[in-house]
Symmetry: C4
Subunit: 372 residues, 4 copies
């Protein structure tokens, strides 16, 4: 029985838990980290690291996508980002001011389907797995451009997505995920979501992967602006229950869970996997990289919303920014827990005695209130 | 069964929850925010936004009342504020010092019933819904002046009000709410209160609306001075239970709940509605406005108490203060969650799939302990 | 059943609550504060305020004792303080350095029974209720001096006291409370204690009052040094249960509970009373007073311990220190909740509808986790 | 039944508690601290204080080991520390930079078995109980050197150790604790661990003592890097249950529990003992000492990890650093709770009425959420 609390007379609500309230508990054997595999396979694509770089213009560009794939991850380009709005997106990025208003102005320029096509062609030419993110609002309009150029993985992602969007009078053509996905040949990842029911409905649309969470980070204000928050540990566990039930109801279709939000360290990632995620999506932690297009700043797609912006532009404090390689694979030369993210995950798995991510989803956890 | 805890041998108390401990959980469909109505109707008065501006001299003046109504809300003038004490209240406001002692001195000048009458006539002349707040202590003395000038909505509001006030030896004429309300023809809103029992008793006095909470904000010290605090989520849910029970016992009289306190962002407002409020009362968040009479400062009626002042004068930090319009309807150009309050509420409702405030009162909630 | 938690396999512990986790909930009638009595009677002594000034040299001197009694409280002089160690204690106080080492040195001078006698004579001459505190360690040695000079109320107080002290080899004459109290004619207050069992045993020694808590304040480190802490709300409720049981077993002997610790505001005091205290003991809050002998600094008896000092010397920040009268009876001219302490208590009682402290011990409470 | 929480659908986890969430509750008699014994005996070795100095180069050197033993504790030299890597370790210590990279470089120099032998010979010559720590990874390689030189107590200690280490392809000879310990004649202490199952398995290897915790301190980032954390109170209580069960299954073999982590004050130590520890291991608190080799800085063995360093170098703030003697035995001249650690423990035991550590393991505890 999930834990519920009667917050007032006649109103019971679930209690949700964040990753930072949990810790791994090694309870059995240990093994050397060399004997641990962190590989992740979704559809026909295999990655040596269980992670996707988030569709933030501050993290993924046509250039960094190549490096991120080389290091073992999947880079998701924002199909509605600056690269699809500006011919010379690199210059635009370089001159972008840090204020919300500056972001809103830069992203006010319309998306050009032709530019989107061109970015995809460039990525294909570079030989990487082409993954592009579209918003639920513009998928109907832009998906053709993306798909016809040969996207490998399509990511349909908003703060909140649902399998059942009610059309308003002024919406000409809202996205019906189920109908839409029936006609798409490449694997589609959809999200975010935060509960069992939505996760299950999204699985039933035929998605290959479901994103859990909306990418909350230190600069997010979605909780303050909208009152929406996702206690990630509970959300991942609940979505894993949906994955199990959907596996049963389909007799074997396994939908991948990609956790997104409140992960800033190797330990956070390890705990997300231990809660049941198959992989994680990372934005802010990668903006620390020397090669990151944000050049020391991070913002996500909510930061430039024209009416309700919900993320400030974060500044990375480090003078000496590490490379993507140090961030992802190490070795780390500081003790923040924010470098060598997957070397850390590998050690966490080893100390808990697991040799694959799938097994590690059963790792021992303890709930606690934080050290002094 | 409400959650109780035995805090010591033989003494059990309820556990109460604050809005900041809750988050909305979209669990079903989504819809476009254009398809959402935030309208609020109390008695014969309809507002496009479910909110009343708090009776603080730092927020509501005869001038700003007009703007607040134009934007869709109800402005409540403090009938015992500076406008009823000073002929030239605007000058008094302009020269008011920020210390508690300065406030106490300014509010030590007696209320003039004649000035109160004149302010109401001015408001009527401006064509707005005239709402005036009186304290329970002075309602008997001042209500005649207010009502005879044609107040549309009377607000009788103190930190704590009860349907049963015990008269002390030195009180000549204490307010008996039930008797008093029987003779008043306009809708009366009374409060604040913080529990089921008091809410129900206030409903039985014939009030059109009940205020839940005492308007706690960052500068409040009622909790420290008096030990009284109102965990708003629980208080609203409990009052909603009283509304339901009173609806049943009267065969259909619906009393509006107006939440007041601990709401500084669109998300807080959305959560208050989702707990069961019909509307919210806002003070501090509106003091950010460029047009606010406090001119960058906020205080409420507890700040000038002659013997036990219970709120400091808050200074608004922004250099560039937004307009009431940006605060209430946006668009926002910062990501604090404190602007475009009702655009945010509208989006929260849309993402949760609800199209009216009344439906939204059933929105999914989760209890959690806060992001790291 | 008190709330217990199994913190690990086979080990269950009680959960305790602090005053700051509680809030008063007005749930019934209200009344005017003029109709409220805060009087406290213990044995033959009556006070208009339910409070004792703590035996701290920073608060109670032969001079301030007079003022504290004038304002309605009971002042307890530390019988082992500087006034019993130095002929010219006032000079010693004036030149006392703020470091722990300086305190240790000043208090290293032995107590002079003759000086103690003289201070008591002076207090008697001033016409106040003479209350003197002795430590459990030195009561056997010093009680004669105190009692023979006509102390009205004897306070035997350490951090922790017990009714059963085990004598070590090097202790010549340990205090046996029961035997000792059998021979004393004046009312004796003993403490501190933190649980039901100790409170009950202390009541059975014949004490007139039991102190709950050890006077924890912002500068205390007893919790860090010794691991001992007292969640005051639970401790008071438990001691009230002991009072009830002892009343029953004796057929009517009522022992007063005096709460001491974690009270810095009127609200804290009100909550301590609502948990079941008959009165409170206040140290740090009174060191704010302009007349306080600490002259802007506060320390308690644990601060000068020769081997394990457990309280730093706190500095009062205010430039303009209020008088004892403003602190205790107001009016307050700041909104900190730390002035007009008993005007605040009176208002809290009024808003909850109670007219005496004894009735107020049943006031409604809610447990919560603090405003944002 | 241990407390479990369903954090999401179908996933229940234990709830763990930290020492800082507990407080001692004196509930019975009191006694003079002179009547209290803090002695600790493990195998044939007796110490007047129940503590081991942690194998940190910042705390234990061949020189300080002598002083620590003189004061009553057991000093554990890190057999893989600078003293086993550098001929002139003292110079290396003196010139060591505070950055993680500097530490990594210093500790990159290989351990010399010959130097290790020499350090042990020196310690034997100094007449102290020789205790040396080896990591699980290098025990097979270095134990011979240590044991043949006559180590008195061998400490095999990593962040996490298990009785069952799975060998990876590139590991030539992993440690099988059970086989290894069968051939060792001196008492062996192994750890760290954090749960009942691992503790029990470690006891079954024949260890004389088991370390609970990994030495978490203010500068640790093991929780962030690996997601592993140990709520110490729960971990100690659980390990004590394993000790009890193992005692039963062996008909009387008593394995000592040594708590390591999150103890910075006398109160923390007292609470660890009251949870069931037989002794504590202290690192950071001793780095405050004037004689400490770290000379005002502290780091532990995780700080120099070549790929995932998990502790920053802490700087001790005090200008005047106390001696080991003041730290351990007092008298203290500040009120931080961090000096006279075992004088404090002795007083805590006395105030709770216990005269030996073994009895004190049953002391009363209360769970609480911290003073304001």
């Amino acid at each position: 029985m999930p834990e519920t609390v009667e917050i007032g007379l006649g109103r019971s609500v679930r209690r949700g838990y964040h990753l930072h309230e949990l810790a791994l508990v090694p309870t059995r054997r240990t093994r050397a980290s060399a004997g641990v595999s962190t590989s992740w396979q979704i559809d026909a694509h295999t990655f040596s690291l269980p992670f996707a770089a988030a569709p933030s213009d501050a993290v993924v560009s046509p250039t960094t996508a190549v490096e991120i794939e080389r290091l073992g991850g999947l880079a998701v380009l924002d199909g509605e980002g600056l690269w699809s709005r500006y011919e010379d997106a690199a210059s635009e990025l370089a001159s972008l001011g840090p204020s919300t208003a500056a972001l809103q102005e830069a992203y006010a320029k319309p998306v050009s389907p032709e530019l989107l096509r061109r970015r995809i062609r460039d990525l294909r030419a570079a030989g990487v797995t082409v993954a592009v993110r579209l918003s639920p609002q513009h998928t109907v309009e832009l998906a053709d451009a993306a798909l016809s150029e040969g996207v490998d993985i399509l990511v349909i992602q908003g703060t909140v997505i649902s399998a059942e969007h009610v059309i308003a009078n002024d919406e000409k053509s809202a996205l019906n995920l189920k109908t839409f996905l029936a006609d798409v040949d490449v694997p589609v990842i959809v999200g975010g979501c935060g509960d069992y029911q939505t996760a299950l409905h999204l699985m039933r649309t035929g998605a290959a992967g479901v994103i859990v969470g909306y990418g909350a980070h230190a600069g997010s204000s979605t909780d303050r602006a909208l009152g929406i928050d996702v206690p990630m540990a509970t959300a991942i566990v609940d979505a894993a229950a949906a994955r199990r039930d959907y596996l049963d109801e389909t007799g074997g279709r396994y939908v991948h869970l990609i956790a997104y939000g409140d992960m800033g360290s190797g330990g956070d990632i390890a705990k997300a996997l231990a809660c049941g995620a198959d992989a994680v999506m990372l934005g802010e932690p990668l903006a620390f990289a020397a090669e990151a297009p944000g050049d020391g700043r991070f913002w996500d797609v909510t930061a430039s919303h024209p009416r309700v912006p919900r993320s400030v532009v974060l500044s990375v404090e480090d003078d000496e920014r590490p490379t993507f390689e140090e961030l992802l694979l190490g070795p780390a030369h500081d003790a923040s827990g924010q470098r060598n993210l997957f070397g850390s995950v590998r050690r966490a798995m080893a100390k808990c005695g697991y040799s694959s991510v799938k097994e590690f989803q059963k790792a021992g956890l303890v709930l606690h209130s934080g050290r002094p």
